[in-house]
Structures are given as structure tokens and as C-alpha cells.
């Protein structure tokens, strides 16, 4: 049973979520909190009173010294109990963290893996996803801890009330009444504290950006060193930092003052109650021992409640805000079947048709594709060319069902693409992305990921690696195909950009998908490797329908048909020879590029 479900969450759910991980621990924590509150107040007060009164009787020679042994032992034991108990909650919380992490983190990852792709590209929802993922367990445990502190404080105040009410009832009632504004003050200050944190966050993000993404990264080292901007950017870092510092400190000052004022206020109420106890002692209504016991208890309560009330409220406000984020996060659209594996046996392609397809990104303002219509036949090679931003990559995103909010029809074998089950649709297309993935796992697994539904033999993988001319790189890998790639492991070996791209190409070669989309597949390859890929192309892609997206026109000559895309529509189409003869946009582009090679 998953814990995370799309519904409204509020601060009470810090307990609810924790309980679903382990009811026993949460209940134990609450019980311990009550015990932790009662021992230093109630128990110590009674033990002290018993001991002192007995000791005074010893002095008055009413009883033997031996009569004081039992009260003394009780007093020591009470303290011992208080000391031993306080190490248990930390231990239980560690266990709860263990359980929550193991339960929530996998659930969270599953939710993320199923998100609709638009939420990944949209920076607002992506921010939300990152915020929630980074802090889920911490915020819930923090909130639970705050809740427990509130329970403990309530129990401590109740204990004080119980001790006093028997002696001077009005002082006890006064304490309870005066606790109301104290609580209100704590709530206000806690919220204010949180608001300041949110305000400072603006500057914090700025200075963290300088320090994490500009001044200390590997990728930026060339520009940073050559342009020598580090002193200037460090200066800006310090400025943004000073601003955040200022905002946080202003809030800190305010909350410290209210916190300590509340502590002092509580202490004074306690002392006033003690003041009221003096006369009963003088008149013999209250024993000296009880007086001392109550004084000790009052100070214990002041120490326990004074400082922690406010920070507990601040933590709960934080948790409340976070759970709002969680509610929003769990309400994001998901894609059915997103985590499924592709079907092991893809359906053969008979015809792929775009009929009057128009598309606008969910956050976009105008159509990226406008009434696009074309027809692809099985086994043929197609090229889509055109300037950056013309809509070439969008066609790939629609074919891979990353977006399905298009108008018009995309028909595979005459059936609308959206009507196929996820696994079947996934098995139809493989893509070599422009920003291909560099999986930090073994070379063998990197390639085998191209066809997860079928088991590939090591021989087959080796053959593919050689086919995409990864042979040289392979020879340098210490453990051959099983070498972990990247710098994740100490034994790992990183590949150069071009080699990674060949790995990505290899993935699509092992795929059994009938349609292959190559989105600028050779951008990082050197001329010889690029040419090799093109020459092997016919051989490697034999029988497959390919869609090459490129702005390097040399490669498009391989295509049986070329579509020239401009501003979301197809402006020219035909074979290389036909388009050259038309002497239109394509011919002009080709002329510009080939000029370099004359």
C-alpha cells in the first residue's frame, strides 16, 4: 500500500505519514515525550518533597537516619530514569528515519518516473519536483519532532498545573491562562521566522548559484581561468550573501527576543506562583519539602518549554508549507504505463502518417507545428532538415509520445498512435538523442539498455560495439565490456564525448524498434567517425524506417526523401536530386555548406 497518494495534505500528516511507516514507534515516541515531561517535574517534585521532609524529621530527631534511605534512593532513581530515557527518542527516531526512507524514497521515485513529460520541461513544476524530492523525509521527521515537543510541553505545563492546583488553585489557573498569549506569541514568531527564511531564500539561491555553478565547477574552468572573472563574481557572491545574512539576522533577532522574553515571562509566572506558596509554608499548610520540590519543578518546566515552543511552531509551519507542496506535487499529471518496458516483439510498420498535425507546447504561446502532413513508408530513410527552432525535434517528441496534446492525427498502420498501449508504442520507436544519455553503468549495460525486453548475449554486444567503431575505445577499457563508464566508481573510466555518442548509437542499433529517429546523431563525432557512421548507416539500419534530423546536409543525402521544415510547416520535400533541381531553400543551404569543401 503506497503512503503517497494524490490528496490534500496538512501538518497533521507529519504524524499520519510517520504512523503508516511504524505506528509502534510513533506511539512510543509520544509516550516517552509524556514521561520525559513528567519525570523532571512531577516525579522529582514528589521525590524531593518526600526526601526533604524525611530529612528534616531526622534533624528534628523524630525518626532514625535509616528512614531517609528510601526517599534518597527514590530521588536518585528518578534522576537516573530521566537521564536514561532521554537517549531513547533519538534512537527511535533513527529507526523511524530508516523505515521512512526505505518506504518513501522508492515511492517518490516511482511518482517522478511516471510524471507527464511537460512537468519535466516546465521550470515551475520542475522546481516543485526538486523541492519535494530533496526534503521529503527530513521535513516529515522535523514536523513530527516538533509535534512531539508540543505534546511534551503540554504535558510539562499540565504537570505544573497539577502540582500547584492542590496548593494554590488560583496561581495554577493563572499559569494556564497566561500560557495562552505565550502560545499565540510563539505561533506568530514561528511563522515570522519561516517567512524570513522564504525571503532570504531568494538571495540564497543567487549566491548558491555563484558558488556552486559558476565558481567551483569543472565545466566552467576554461572560461573562468581565461577570463579571470572569479574575483568579480566572488564579490557578487559576497553581496548576495550579505543581503541574505541581513534578512535572516533581522528575523533571528526578533525571534530570539520573543523567545527569551517568553522564557523570562514563564519564569516570572512560576516565581509568582512560588511567591504565593510562601505563606502556606509559613502557616504550616505546605511542607518545606513540597515547596522545594515545586520550585525545582517550576525551573525544569521553564527550561523545557521556554526555548522550544517557538522553534517547534516554526518547524510545524515549515512542514505545513512543505505538505502543501507535496499535495501539489502528487496532483501533477502522470503518464499511464510510463515505466513499462517496451513490448518484446514490436508490431511491424506498414505506414506512418502525420495528418494535419498541429502542436503547441503546454507553456508555449504559439504553434510549433502547423498542419504538418507527411507519409512514411517502411524500410525507407527520411531526413528532416531546417534551421534551429523550426520544429524538427518536436516531431520526434510527438512520435515518442512525450507529448500527446496535438491536433490532427498521427497514424501507425492506420491506427491513431494515442490508442496503442504504452508498451506497444514504446517498442515502435528508438531514438538517438542530440543530448544522449551518458549512463554511469558498464558499457555492456549501456548498450543493452537499448533493448531491455530481450536478453542480449555478450557476443552480440561486442559485435555491436565494433560495428559503431567503439572497438578502439573498448581496447582501452580495463575490464572490456564490463568496465563501468564515467567517474561514479573508482574503477570507472570516462569516455570522450564522441565515444559516448557512439554508445548512444549502439543502443539504437540493438533495439528491435522498426522506426529509428536520429536527432543530430553525429554532432560530436570527428570527420572519419562521422563518415564511418554514415557509410555503415545503410548496413546498420537495413530494413528499418529512419528519420534523420540534422542540419548537416551532407548526411541527408542518404535519405530517400528529405523534408525541409521552416517555421513549423513542411516547405519543401523530395529526394536530394529533386530538391537541388528545385533550386529552393534546400539547394541554397546545400550550396553554402558544400562551398567549404571546394
Amino acid at each position: 500500500m503506497p503512503i503517497l497518494k494524490p490528496r490534500r495534505y496538512n501538518w497533521k500528516d507529519v504524524a499520519g505519514i510517520s504512523i503508516s511507516a511504524s505506528p509502534a514507534i510513533v506511539i512510543s515516541l509520544l509516550l516517552l515525550a509524556v514521561v520525559e515531561a513528567l519525570v523532571p517535574t512531577f516525579a522529582i517534585a514528589l521525590a524531593t518533597s518526600w526526601f526533604v521532609d524525611t530529612a528534616l524529621s531526622v534533624f528534628a530527631q523524630q525518626v532514625e537516619v535509616a528512614a531517609a534511605y528510601l526517599p534518597l534512593a527514590t530521588l536518585i532513581l528518578a534522576i537516573g530514569l530521566a537521564n536514561t530515557i532521554n537517549s531513547i527518542p533519538g534512537f527511535l527516531q533513527a529507526r523511524l528515519r530508516y523505515l521512512l526512507t526505505r518506504k518513501l524514497e522508492p515511492e517518490l521515485l516511482q511518482v517522478r518516473a511516471n510524471l507527464a513529460y511537460q512537468h519535466i520541461e516546465d521550470s515551475d513544476s520542475w522546481d516543485l519536483v526538486e523541492r519535494v524530492s530533496d526534503e521529503l523525509v527530513d521535513k516529515i521527521l522535523g514536523g513530527l519532532n516538533a509535534l512531539i515537543i508540543l505534546v511534551r510541553n503540554t504535558a510539562a505545563v499540565a504537570a505544573m498545573f497539577a502540582l500547584l492546583v492542590a496548593q494554590v488553585w488560583w496561581a495554577a489557573v493563572a499559569i494556564l491562562v497566561l500560557c495562552v498569549p505565550l502560545f499565540w506569541l510563539a505561533v506568530r514568531a514561528g511563522r515570522e521566522n519561516y517567512a524570513a527564511e522564504v525571503e532570504a531564500l531568494k538571495y540564497e539561491r543567487r549566491y548558491s548559484y555563484y558558488s556552486e555553478e559558476v565558481l567551483t565547477t569543472r565545466d566552467g574552468v576554461e572560461e573562468r581561468t581565461l577570463f579571470g572573472y572569479a574575483p568579480e563574481i566572488t564579490g557578487r557572491y559576497s553581496q548576495a550573501f550579505a543581503k541574505a545574512h541581513q534578512v535572516q539576522l533581522r528575523a533571528e533577532l526578533k525571534t530570539t527576543i520573543t523567545r527569551k522574553a517568553a522564557g523570562a515571562f514563564l519564569a516570572i509566572i512560576g516565581l509568582l506562583a512560588i511567591l504565593a506558596l510562601i505563606n502556606p509554608v509559613l502557616s504550616g499548610q505546605l511542607s518545606t519539602g513540597m515547596f522545594m520540590g515545586i520550585v525545582a519543578a517550576v525551573f525544569a518546566v521553564v527550561e523545557m518549554v521556554g526555548g522550544t515552543l517557538q522553534s517547534a511552531v516554526a518547524k510545524l509551519s515549515e512542514a505545513q508549507f512543505f505538505l502543501g507542496d507535496l499535495t501539489e506535487f502528487l496532483a501533477l499529471d502522470s503518464t499511464a504505463g510510463a515505466t513499462e518496458m517496451p513490448a518484446a516483439q514490436p508490431i511491424p510498420l506498414e505506414r506512418l502518417t502525420f495528418r494535419n498535425v498541429s502542436f503547441q507546447y503546454p507553456i508555449g504561446e504559439h504553434n510549433v507545428l502547423n498542419n504538418v502532413t507527411f507519409d512514411l513508408e517502411p524500410g525507407k530513410h527520411y531526413a528532416f532538415v531546417g534551421p534551429n527552432g523550426a520544429g524538427k525535434t518536436t516531431i520526434a517528441k510527438l512520435l515518442t509520445r512525450l507529448y500527446d496534446g496535438y491536433q490532427g492525427e498521427i497514424l501507425v498502420n492506420g491506427i491513431e498512435l494515442r490508442d496503442y498501449p504504452g508498451a506497444t508504442a514504446k517498442a515502435m520507436v528508438s531514438v538517438v538523442h542530440q543530448d544522449f544519455a551518458r549512463y554511469q553503468v558498464s558499457l555492456a549495460d549501456n548498450i543493452a539498455l537499448g533493448n531491455v525486453s530481450n536478453l542480449l548475449s555478450p557476443e552480440k554486444l561486442l559485435q555491436v560495439a565494433n560495428k559503431v567503431s567503439l572497438g578502439d575505445a573498448l581496447a582501452q577499457l580495463p575490464a572490456g565490456l564490463d568496465t563501468p563508464l564515467g567517474k561514479l566508481n573508482e574503477e570507472g573510466t570516462d569516455l570522450a564525448g564522441g565515444q559516448w555518442q557512439k554508445v548512444a548509437i549502439a543502443r539504437s542499433f540493438v533495439s528491435s524498434a522498426p522506426v529509428v529517429i536520429l536527432d543530430e546523431p553525429t554532432a560530436a563525432l570527428d570527420p572519419i567517425a562521422e563518415s564511418e557512421v554514415y557509410l555503415e548507416f545503410e548496413n546498420l539500419m537495413h530494413g528499418k524506417t529512419t528519420i534523420m534530423i540534422s542540419h548537416r546536409l551532407g548526411s541527408t543525402k542518404l535519405a530517400d526523401k528529405i523534408f525541409v521544415i521552416g517555421q513549423g510547416t513542411i516547405v519543401e520535400q523530395g529526394s536530394h536530386a529533386e530538391l537541388m533541381a528545385q533550386n529552393g531553400i534546400y539547394a541554397q543551404m546545400f550550396a553554402t555548406q558544400s562551398k567549404w569543401y571546394k
Binding site: G220, L226, G228, T400
Partner: protein, 607 residues
């Protein structure tokens, strides 16, 4: 760049210097830095801490007075006013305690938080002065990451505060209370100290457990994060989804999650027993101390009121002690490793050297240059010799991994060669100060940066010595064909910071504009047009040709068509320079270049 093997053996032989980073050294250094950064406020903080410690003892004495008075009052019928007086004193002490503890906590936040910013700025400056080649070393990058966290989460500040607090707060409190207790019963302070010796010893066990945990979990955590990213990060999301790779990475994710949480739990369990044992020991100490007090009370040497007040004080003292040992000290000991790492980084040798002025009459001269990346086994550039005359444009071509980018970094002075020498404008790159060395050099790199700053800042960042010049910025943007001409220069280029995003091609043009904006006599272009479409690319190369006029220029590119604009072409293979010549010369030699040229040009013959 060649295949770089990052091996476990690639230690930087630091063990020899280990003693330099002993605990006392770290504590002293951290405290000095703390005072240096926080100035007078550090002294105020410690002063308040001392007063606070004294107020704790004062509270015990005031309580004792109150109890003594009330005992006498109950027995001998003193007046109400006589009892109110000690109660009033106690009230004053308690309120004072709240004020002091408030002041202490505020000043601590002020200092520690403020210091973390100052230390971070120092750290950033330091990282800018270490050799650039270090950034190719995974071990170094890990250390940078850890040190940054050490500053960001204020580990250093908290560590120092704990060390200082130990002296000014705890030690003062124990001393003051010790004197008070000694007067009651001379054995008392001794019993208390003895009770804490085993507790302090058990602390080391805890510190070791957590150090081991960190060692085990750090590499696991990196893998854990990667598997998560492979499924759900922006970078991998669409490819993993389409491949159906979820199950594969999810299995790895669950495995690592299991290991990490289990390791952590084991450590928690071990330390729980340590802590419990410690509590029992301190409880025994408290019991013994109470018995001593009891004896003193029964023998009449102290009053019952004193017994209760001191008993409460002892309880406070023991809970403080166990707080110091189980929380503060173990927190501090968890940080020691990070802090050591931080100081080791801060002590790394810097790039420095003479100042002067490069004169490109002397061109650029590389003599028998070799270079191996830190941690790599094979050199990336071997014995390269190359001279670039004043005003000459040189192109470097070769296959992936042939060492082109490394050679460019050597020629521009970003890297210092292991063997041989590089003279840039007559200055030796090995002993010239970076400010001098790069003064006349600009560049556009393969890994150009997308700064989340305004459009204007994105350009002007290449020259921060002079105030930004709007005219120059606009000109650079126009020259680079940045065709969002209407975009105001103060547009923020980052949705994260409330601005807009650019396409890949636009970002690349922006990087070119950045390179052009920096005044230079030597420009490096390392695959400057990979993400730009061909029509634009042609324009930009023509522009380059004009811009490189009369300057030293190096172009690295895969598009052989574009190298024809170079005066000479350098052909690299496996880290070595195989051939140098003009386009025509190289074609006629029928070597590697001719082979590459034929391979690429064939695609552009009109069938």
C-alpha cells in the same frame, strides 16, 4: 581529450603531510580563523558565554539561599519579607539568564553565519588560483564538493564554536561550580571528574563508528543519486522512459538505498549502546556524588536546602556533561574529517609567477610539450612542438581523443606542461602570473557556459576588469549574429531566476559574443559552432576570419571545410602532432588529413 583512467591508486602522497593536520592544529587554526573573520564580535560572544556560565552557578547559589531561608522560616517563623528577598534575587538571576542566553545565541548565529560567507569567498578565491588541470581529477572535485559542504552547512563554524564554548562556557561553569562544591565537600568535584573519564573515552568509539560510516556511504550515495537521476532527472528522463530502463535503474536504486540505510542504522545502533552505557556511568557518578552530599547533610555540615539546590545543580551539570560528550563533541568529531579536507585544499600550491606584459611579436612557441592529466596513466599530449607567428591563424584537426583540446589548453596557458615549455607572447606559461598571461587572450570553448545572469552580464563577464560597456556588448552580440537583437541587455537569461531561456544555438552565439567582447591579441576557438545550423555557421566563420586578422588565433574544429581559412593546419593523432602545413600541402601529402578531408567532402559532392 583522451580516455582518462581515474584509478584508486592516484593518491597525492599526502600521508607524509598528515601530521600537519593533527587535531590540535585544526582546532587552533579554526579558532584563529574564527576570530580573524568575526573580529570584535567573536570576543563579545565569548565574553557573554563566560557570563552565562557564571549565571548558572549563581542560580544554584540563589536557590540554596531561598531554600535555607524557607527552612528556617518554617521552623522558626521568620516574616514573609525575609523570604521574599532571596526569591527576588533568584528572579533577577533567572531573568538575567534568559537575556544572556538570548544574546549568546544571537551573536553566535551572527558570527557563524557571517563567517561562513567570508570563508566561502576565501575558498572561491583559492579555487581560482589552483592549477586548472586539477578540475579534470575526480578526486579533487570530490574534495571541493565536500569542502564546500563543510562551509555551507557551517560545519567549520559549529566545530569552532564547540571548541571555544568548551573553554569559555563549560570549563568556566565547571570551575565555578567545582569551587562551590569543593567548599561543601572536597571529595565532590573529584567524584564527578572520575565519573566522566569512561564517558569521554567512549566518545572516541562513537567518532570512529561515524567516520567509518561516512567512508562506506559516500561512494554509495553518489551511486544512489545517479540511479535516481538516471530515472528522473531532466538530463536522462526522456531517454530512460522510452528505453523502458526504469526497472533496470530502479533495481540498482533499491539495492543502494538498502545498503545506505542499513549502514547508517548499524552505526546508529552501535552508538546507541555507547550512549546508553555512558548514561549509566554518569548516573553512577551522580549517585556517588549524591551519597557524599547526603553524608554531609546528615553530619550537619551542609543544610537540607543546600542539598536540594546542589542536587538540582548536579543534575544540570550531569545533563550538561552528557550533552557535551554525546552531542556537541560527537558533532564536532563528525566534522573533523571535512575540516581537515578543507584546510588541505586551502593549503594547495597556487599558480603564480611574474607579472609583465605579453608581446605577441614573439608569437606562441611550444617546445617539446608533454602533458598527462592528474590521475591518468597515458599522456594526453606527447612531445608537441609548434610555433605560431604573430598574426597567424592555426587550425588543429584530428579524431576524437587525439588531444586537440588539451593542446589548446597548453598553448593558451590554461595548463602548464609537465615537460617542455610554452612561451606566450614571450612569457613562459610556467612562471607567469595568470593575470599577465591571459591579459591579451580570449576564447570560445566547446563547453561554453550558460550563465544564469542578464544578457549583458553574460557577455561582459569575459572582461570584468573594466566596467561593462553597453556599446561594446551590443557590437559583440551583432558580430556573433546573436539574432535576438531586440532583447534588452538587462534581460535575465534563466527561468529559474524569473527570466527567459535561450535555445542551444542562441547560447552558442552568446558564447561567441563573450569571446569577442574581451579585447585580445590571441583568440582560441575550440569547436565554437557545434550547435549552430549551417547557414549561420558559414556567416560566423567568415566573421572569424575578419576578427582573427592580425591576431594569433587557434581554431579546433571537426568541420574540415572551415579550416581552410587558417594559415596552417596542425594534424593531431594519439596525442602527437603528426603533420603541419597549409591545406594544399597537407592534401598533397596524402596523409591523415587528406583521408579526413576526403571522408567529409564526399558528402558534399553534388551527385
Amino acid at each position: 581529450m583522451s580516455v582518462t583512467v581515474i584509478g584508486g591508486e592516484s593518491t597525492r602522497a599526502r600521508q607524509a603531510k598528515e601530521h600537519k593536520y593533527g587535531l590540535t592544529h585544526l582546532i587552533l587554526r579554526a579558532c584563529l580563523d574564527y576570530f580573524r573573520a568575526a573580529k570584535g564580535w567573536a570576543a563579545v560572544e565569548q565574553g557573554v558565554a563566560v557570563l552565562q556560565a557564571l549565571s548558572w552557578t549563581a542560580a544554584i547559589i540563589a536557590t540554596q539561599r531561598l531554600f535555607d531561608t524557607i527552612t528556617i522560616a518554617a521552623n522558626h517563623g521568620l516574616g514573609f519579607q525575609r523570604v521574599v528577598a532571596p526569591l527576588g534575587v533568584l528572579a533577577v538571576v533567572v531573568v538575567l539568564q534568559q537575556i544572556l542566553s538570548g544574546a549568546e545565541s544571537y551573536i553566535f548565529t551572527y558570527n557563524s553565519y557571517g563567517n561562513s560567507g567570508k570563508f566561502m569567498a576565501d575558498f572561491q578565491r583559492k579555487l581560482n588560483r589552483v592549477p586548472a588541470a586539477l578540475y579534470e581529477d575526480a578526486e579533487f572535485l570530490d574534495e571541493v564538493e565536500q569542502s564546500r559542504e563543510c562551509l555551507e552547512y557551517e560545519s567549520l563554524g559549529v566545530f569552532t564554536a564547540i571548541c571555544l564554548n568548551f573553554l569559555t562556557s563549560y570549563a568556566v561553569f565547571f570551575a565555578a561550580l567545582g569551587v562551590f562544591l569543593f567548599r561543601l565537600s572536597p571529595l565532590l568535584p573529584l567524584v564527578i571528574i572520575a565519573a566522566f573519564i569512561p564517558a569521554a573515552l567512549s566518545l572516541f568509539a562513537k567518532a570512529r563508528v561515524f567516520a567509518e560510516l561516512e567512508e562506506d556511504n559516500a561512494p554509495l550515495r553518489r551511486r544512489y543519486e545517479f540511479y535516481q537521476d538516471a530515472i528522473a532527472s531532466r538530463e536522462f528522463f526522456k531517454e530512460t522512459r522510452l528505453l523502458g530502463g526504469f526497472n533496470y535503474f530502479y533495481r540498482l536504486f533499491i539495492q543502494t538505498l538498502g545498503l545506505i540505510t542499513e549502514n547508517r542504522w548499524q552505526a546508529e545502533r552501535k552508538t546507541f549502546w555507547v550512549r546508553l552505557a555512558l548514561n549509566v556511568v554518569s548516573f553512577l557518578g551522580l549517585g556517588a556524588a549524591t551519597l557524599l552530599l547526603f553524608q554531609a547533610t546528615m553530619s550537619g555540615s551542609i543544610s537540607v536546602g543546600a542539598f536540594v539546590a546542589v542536587f538540582a545543580g548536579l543534575t544540570q551539570m550531569f545533563s550538561l556533561m552528557s550533552e557535551i560528550v554525546t552531542e556537541r563533541f560527537s558533532e564536532a568529531s563528525e566534522y573533523v574529517g571535512q575540516i581537515k579536507q578543507y584546510y588541505q585544499l586551502m593549503d594547495m600550491p597556487e599558480v603564480g609567477g611574474r607579472h609583465g606584459k605579453p608581446d605577441f611579436i614573439h608569437g606562441i612557441r611550444a617546445q617539446n610539450v608533454s602533458f598527462t592529466y592528474p590521475g591518468a596513466e597515458t599522456p594526453a599530449v606527447i612531445n608537441a612542438t609548434l610555433e605560431i607567428e604573430d598574426g597567424e591563424t592555426v587550425a588543429i584537426v584530428g579524431e576524437n581523443g587525439a588531444g586537440k583540446s588539451t593542446l589548446v589548453r597548453l598553448l593558451s596557458g590554461l595548463y602548464q606542461p609537465d615537460k617542455g615549455s610554452v612561451m606566450i607572447g614571450g612569457l613562459d606559461s610556467a612562471d607567469t602570473h595568470p593575470e599577465t598571461l591571459y591579459r591579451e587572450t580570449s576564447g570560445v570553448f566547446q563547453k561554453y557556459q550558460r550563465y544564469k545572469m542578464t544578457l549583458g552580464e553574460n557577455v561582459a563577464i569575459s572582461n570584468t576588469l573594466n566596467p561593462p560597456d553597453a556599446h561594446g556588448i551590443t557590437k559583440a552580440l551583432t558580430d556573433a549574429h546573436f539574432n535576438k537583437g531586440g532583447t534588452p541587455l538587462d534581460t535575465m537569461l534563466s527561468p529559474e531566476f524569473g527570466g527567459i531561456d535561450l535555445s542551444g544555438g542562441q547560447w552558442q552565439r552568446l558564447a561567441i559574443a563573450r569571446g569577442l567582447y574581451r579585447a585580445n591579441q590571441f583568440i582560441v576557438l575550440d569547436e565554437p559552432t557545434a550547435a549552430i545550423d549551417p547557414l549561420e555557421e558559414a556567416h560566423i566563420y567568415q566573421q572569424f576570419e575578419q576578427l582573427a586578422q592580425g591576431k594569433c588565433a587557434i581554431i579546433v574544429t571537426h568541420r574540415l571545410g572551415s579550416v581552410k581559412l587558417a594559415d596552417r593546419i596542425v594534424v593531431m593523432d594519439s596525442g602527437e602532432i603528426k603533420d603541419i602545413g597549409t591545406h594544399a600541402e597537407l592534401l598533397s601529402r596524402q596523409g591523415k588529413y587528406a583521408q579526413m578531408w576526403a571522408a567529409q567532402a564526399a558528402w558534399y559532392e553534388n551527385r
